[in-house]
Symmetry: C2
Subunit: 215 residues, 2 copies
Amino acid sequence: MTIDPPGLAEETASRLRNAIIGGALPPGQRLSETRLAADLGVSRNTLREVFRLLTREGLLRHEPNRGVFVAVPSMASIVDIYRVRRLIEVPALAHAWPRHAAVARMQAAVDAARAARQAQDWRSVGSANMEFHAAIVALTDSARLQAFFAQVVAELRLAFGLLDSPERLHEPYIDRNGEILDLLAAGQQARAAEVLAAYLDNSERVVLEAFARLG
Amino acid sequence: MTIDPPGLAEETASRLRNAIIGGALPPGQRLSETRLAADLGVSRNTLREVFRLLTREGLLRHEPNRGVFVAVPSMASIVDIYRVRRLIEVPALAHAWPRHAAVARMQAAVDAARAARQAQDWRSVGSANMEFHAAIVALTDSARLQAFFAQVVAELRLAFGLLDSPERLHEPYIDRNGEILDLLAAGQQARAAEVLAAYLDNSERVVLEAFARLG
DNA sequence: TGATATAAATTGTTGAACAAAAATATTGTA
DNA sequence: TACAATATTTTTGTTCAACAATTTATATCA
């Protein structure tokens, strides 16, 4: 059906990544090589290559001679992730060129989030919000920064999957993203960066609180 | 002799990484799976896992159905790498705590660089300088940032390997690093960050010029 | 019950196999 | 000779089967 070359391992990694982020495989879950290879319809060797990819992305944890497990997000990892986000996103926005191509991506993401809100589809709201922030990083035109950020976002979404009440987690930020976009489009980068910084502080606090409630 | 578990693939990756950065395998070189596997004394399967690791690090380039090649650094990649370095290193230094444990690492790196200069060992000077900057990133206490930076540094060293006159490339920065360290230790983070920013601008220009001379 | 020995399952790694694609050599022809 | 078409060889992409080393589960005994 679908063309797999080049990269059956990459394609499988993508499927497994979605399964993890989508919550089909809960954090801490142990992944048996033989069983999962059979389920995914690939060989053990190929699956091991997939494991390496996702381990490097922070989605899996590998314990020698014991196997691989779906990573369990910790408070420390969340704090670290938000530190990285602040460091990358805020300067990206502050130095942005308001007519950069990525601005259209930001706009599309805001529109998508609002549409998903209409449909009460909070998971899609979360995806759209993350796409908004990926677009912010794209303002830098740095391939390496974008790849790194994508990885960090995948980890963060893993943590989001653990938390309940996705509405409280995503809804408040849709219009804030719209506000940031408007400020950028109006050439007020500095102001936009300020709003983003406050956004990130707030979001981190909410996530950490929800996490603490999980015990 | 050496214990390989856990991770013969990782150990092999490390060896191959050194071979690439050390210049034993020139950029653009094609790496035959069977031949290299025999040379390294590992199986083809294991070597392919190694290839994935180093490809993700940017040290190898993979062309489907054609094989893997040692990456060829470009001007664009150098510009991108320096952008990333500025974005990460300068704020790391600006917000640093002068009594952080990583300051000792910075001091050790400066000492090592000076010792290597005495011995006219410019390759070691380069290594020590890079270790200095890795220590700067360690000031952030962010595991993700440190891992990302290590990757970027590996790529940069690949580019350095292409250039001749390593003295001109590394010597001028030894004492600048010392100056940055002294400023930080004296609690003048802002001043240290300024010097670092100028350092990076200057270094980028030198590298790009040397690159241009290569044609 | 609790510690210990035995058995079963799992990981880490290798080697061989084979289809598909690419690189190379060979041939046929103007 | 030069050039295109064809056949041959070499590589990559992927799977499967095997086996030692290690971990986990099970059974045994004081």
